[in-house]
């Protein structure tokens, strides 16, 4: 049997900057990405207290355009797409027929018949194939426009002030998107993020990515890696596809029922309506470790008698909380905040408590 060739890792337009800054680079979803520059905790704190920026150019973009775009996206996305005004943004799941989560994505309405969907890097190709397959029955064009953009997330309590001053542009409100020139090239600025802090995500021309990154760094915005991005999102309980969300789990058990509007008849809606009506066997919950220990993905969750009651999907040391914390799927009867459980961390049973969202309140 032939050994497959090692896959060539892709690099973002900012790769040289990361290397120059001494970032620790790791493979992530087929990309060579910075996991940290100086340290996860410093970068995490910079975003909670000031302003940090993340190169998230590995994320994919899909443009959906045509007279049938709205009807098509109502079928493909779990939320009610008709509620997005032009210039608006909305979070959705993309589900399969059995209600499992194929991907989660932000959808931006750029025009009456023109939308942009930002996909997870690991799912981009599969999303394109899935959208392409369903688009045949609709008067719509589905285009992969991932190469058109570099994506920079600028997040933190001072992110907007520093950014608008440095680039001389006004910024969209939360969950809005505006077209602006950045580096004299057309760009989209989105009032969204994945950190629990205020800020924006910018889709910019790859050719100006380096000067813009440098300009923001000179203005005091701290370069942050995917390590801090993960601890930040986990503290505010944003799910990560591949960890909390999978094609085998439906949005109801993932506590994403709020972004599923079954009345629109989207793909998977009948399975999700049934899950909502019956309640699910397991629920996704946040938890904190009481005392020492750091939970990690895959750790078993144990009940009062030491019986297996669930599994950790994401676990880390939470820098803003100063303790081990994470998210886990647990038996629905144990999902109530305050419930005491134990996490089996490599054989050591660590006392833990089910918490409410978010773990880190702003």
């Amino acid at each position: 049997m032939a050994t497959p060739l090692e896959e060539q890792l892709r690099r973002t337009p900012l790769f040289e900057q990361h290397a120059e800054l001494g970032a620790k680079l790791v493979p992530f979803a087929g990309w060579e990405m910075p996991v940290l520059y100086e340290g996860i905790r410093e970068e995490h704190t910079a975003v909670r207290t000031h302003a940090g920026m993340f190169d998230v150019s590995h994320m994919g973009e899909v443009e959906v355009e045509g007279p049938g775009a709205l009807a098509f996206l109502q079928l493909l996305l779990s939320n009610d797409v008709s509620k997005i005004a032009v210039g608006g943004a909305q979070y959705s799941c993309i589900c399969n027929e059995s209600g499992g989560v194929v991907d989660d994505a932000f959808c931006y309405r750029l025009g009456t018949d023109r939308f942009l969907i930002v996909t997870n890097a690991a799912n981009h190709e599969a999303d394109l194939a899935w959208l392409g397959r369903w688009s045949r029955d609709h008067d719509v064009a589905v285009r992969d426009v991932a190469d058109r953009y570099a994506m920079l997330a600028v997040q933190g309590p001072h992110a907007r002030a520093v950014l608008s001053r440095a680039l001389g542009i006004d910024l969209p409100d939360r969950f809005r998107v505006v077209a602006r020139n950045v580096g004299r090239r057309p760009a989209l600025i989105c009032g969204t993020g994945y950190t629990g802090e205020d800020g924006v995500e910018m889709l910019i021309d790859p050719e100006v990515a380096i000067p813009i990154f440098e300009e923001l760094r000179d203005a005091g915005v701290v370069p942050c890696g995917l390590g801090a991005r993960d601890t930040l999102r986990l503290e505010v309980c944003y799910p990560l596809h591949g960890n909390e969300l999978t094609p085998e789990r439906n949005p109801i058990e993932a506590d994403l029922g709020w972004c599923c509007k079954e009345a629109t008849g989207f793909i998977g809606s009948s399975a999700i309506a049934a899950a909502r009506a019956e309640d699910t066997a397991e629920r996704l919950v946040p938890f904190t470790i009481e005392g020492a220990g750091i939970p990690r993905d895959g750790n078993p969750v144990l009940g009062a008698q030491g019986e297996h009651v669930g599994t950790v999907t994401s676990g880390t040391f939470a820098p803003s909380l100063g303790i081990g914390a994470g998210m886990a799927y647990v038996a629905a009867g144990l999902a109530e905040p305050g419930t005491e459980v134990e996490i089996d961390v490599r054989g050591k049973h660590r006392p833990a408590r089910i918490a409410s969202k978010p773990l880190y309140p702003r």
Binding site: R41, H44, T231, A292, G293, I294, T316, F317, P319, K348
Partner: protein, 129 residues
């Protein structure tokens, strides 16, 4: 400690531990290279006092925000003291790996094992490979 540093008076294990041998007892820790690779240590899980350690076997864990790493015993012996200060300030392992960041003190059961360990120069040669 920002710059790589490997004191000449210590012995080194190829799994990135250092040993300060004093007669039949010794102090163990992890090297500058080990802490630099791991990143900021946020948790140290020590062995209990009295635990018997076997050379080349894991005896403790150090964790950074994203990763956990076993600490390998560079020599065999019994734990007589654990650096309790690390439970409140594990970052000492990064800041002062050969001083305040020491991990355990041990009564050696096979002091002759020291001969199998590396000198500072030999250890650095290993890192350069």
């Amino acid at each position: 400690m920002a710059e790589a540093n490997y004191p000449d008076d210590l012995r080194y294990h190829d799994q990135h531990d250092w040993v300060r041998v004093e007669g039949d007892s010794a102090t163990f820790g992890i090297t500058w290279y080990a802490q630099d690779t791991l990143g900021e240590v946020v948790f140290f899980e020590p062995p209990e006092g009295g635990t018997a350690l076997t050379k080349d076997q894991p005896y403790a864990e150090v964790e950074s925000v994203k990763a956990v790493s076993d600490v390998i015993a560079p020599m065999s012996g019994e734990v007589t003291e654990v650096n309790d200060a690390l439970s409140d300030s594990p970052e000492q392992i990064n800041e002062d790996p050969y001083g305040a960041g020491w991990l355990v003190k041990v009564t050696l059961s096979h002091p002759e094992e020291a001969e199998t360990l590396l000198s500072a120069a030999e250890y650095q040669k290993l890192l350069d490979r």
